[in-house]
Symmetry: C2
Subunit: 228 residues, 2 copies
């Protein structure tokens, strides 16, 4: 039986469902209908049901969805029931910020080590792990020994594609890429880009667009759904 490919549009919404369900669970709600959730999240109930039904029937007619169960199931879909071992490549400001962010750990994402070209950092610690030289053999061995599956790339864009290529050859299957460049990797390697300046440019566009629009029609809307 052919499994249908789930669109990235759906996947992109799962973490937000997961977050809302986690909060509902925390506040003791143990049952919710697509309609209630739709009001809370400002999306259509139709979309919620369609999204969930990509993965099978999580609800019950006449009842709705069990919050705890749904939360767990979406967690499983997102692969949060398995731990992930990560290495940080580039222990600069941003890299250190990420490695010190505890919330990733709570979701099963663990930094096992960091690598940097700067000798001043070698042997020091960041986020509870050692910083090693960006040495090919060392990285290769570390990735194999520690069963690293994700590399977090926080290095200048000039160096990113070359390092990414090496990491892939050492067995890395997922790259969380903060370098402002597209990484050409084989199709069986997953890249998730976080292009901060792109994000800032989108904000800049929307600021200008809105400013000129209000200047034009002079009205100020109270509708804030679009921002969610």
């Amino acid at each position: 039986m052919e499994e249908k490919e789930i669109s990235q549009a759906v996947i992109g919404r799962l973490p937000r469902y997961y977050r809302y369900l986690g909060e509902l669970k925390m506040s003791g709600v143990d049952r919710i209908s697509s309609r209630e959730l739709s009001k809370l999240m400002h999306v259509t109930a139709s979309q919620i049901r369609q999204d969930f039904n990509n993965f099978g029937g999580f609800g019950q007619q006449g009842y709705g969805y069990n919050v705890g169960f749904l939360y767990e199931e979406i967690g499983k879909i997102l692969g949060l029931d398995n731990d992930h071992n990560m290495i940080l490549i580039g222990a600069g400001h941003l890299g250190q910020a990420l490695i010190n962010y505890m919330n990733f750990r709570n979701r099963g994402f663990f930094f096992r080590g960091a690598f940097d070209v700067n000798p001043d950092l070698w042997g020091k610690e960041a986020g509870g792990v050692k910083i090693y030289p960006c040495d090919d053999e060392k990285m290769k061995k570390f990735i194999a020994d520690e069963k690293i599956d994700i590399a977090v790339l926080c290095i200048p864009k000039t160096q990113a594609p070359a390092i990414a290529g090496k990491l892939v050859s050492y067995g890395i299957r997922g790259i969380w890429n903060f370098a402002h460049v597209d990484l050409p990797v084989p199709d069986d390697v997953q890249v998730e880009n976080v292009h901060l300046s792109d994000s800032l440019m989108k904000l800049s566009y929307n600021l200008r667009r809105h400013t000129s629009e209000t200047a034009k029609n002079g009205k100020k809307s109270e509708d804030w759904d679009r921002n969610l």
Copy 2:
């Protein structure tokens, strides 16, 4: 005459065009066709032409596009021809990483000050600007005096909505939100979310999906377009 609203799908692609055009310009290329650009960026030539034509005719039949001109025009569309004054709210690890990142400055985004609740940080500097107490009156005056239009929110999600509300009342029109929560703001305030853990969860999903798929059909594709 009604101006058609440009879809966020198009806007989301502009920064990437901008990046490629900047690189072409730097390497001395001054003319490119939609077909050449499509091969470079791994998107369809049709999409490129459609995207550009949302904003008017930037090209010339039989010739293609002038790289420098197109680069400038897209910059203008993105609002990069105007400077933006920003404040950092929350000078923790992530906030300090952002305020120290020089590339935003090159694009016209300037941090003018930082605010934090931690007294140990007050009076210190980060990224060349002072860190102030998160005091209502001080923030209000600073935003007005320094003509701040963007606030960069790097605070825990529990505090983010309350602070965001205040900032908006002080005149902030754009929020770059790194807190893991949806901010309810009026429609004339633009929010750009950077939800890092959501991004990591997507990577986790795609890792698992691919791992089980290759396990199933045992093939390893060389096509890497999808990762761009």
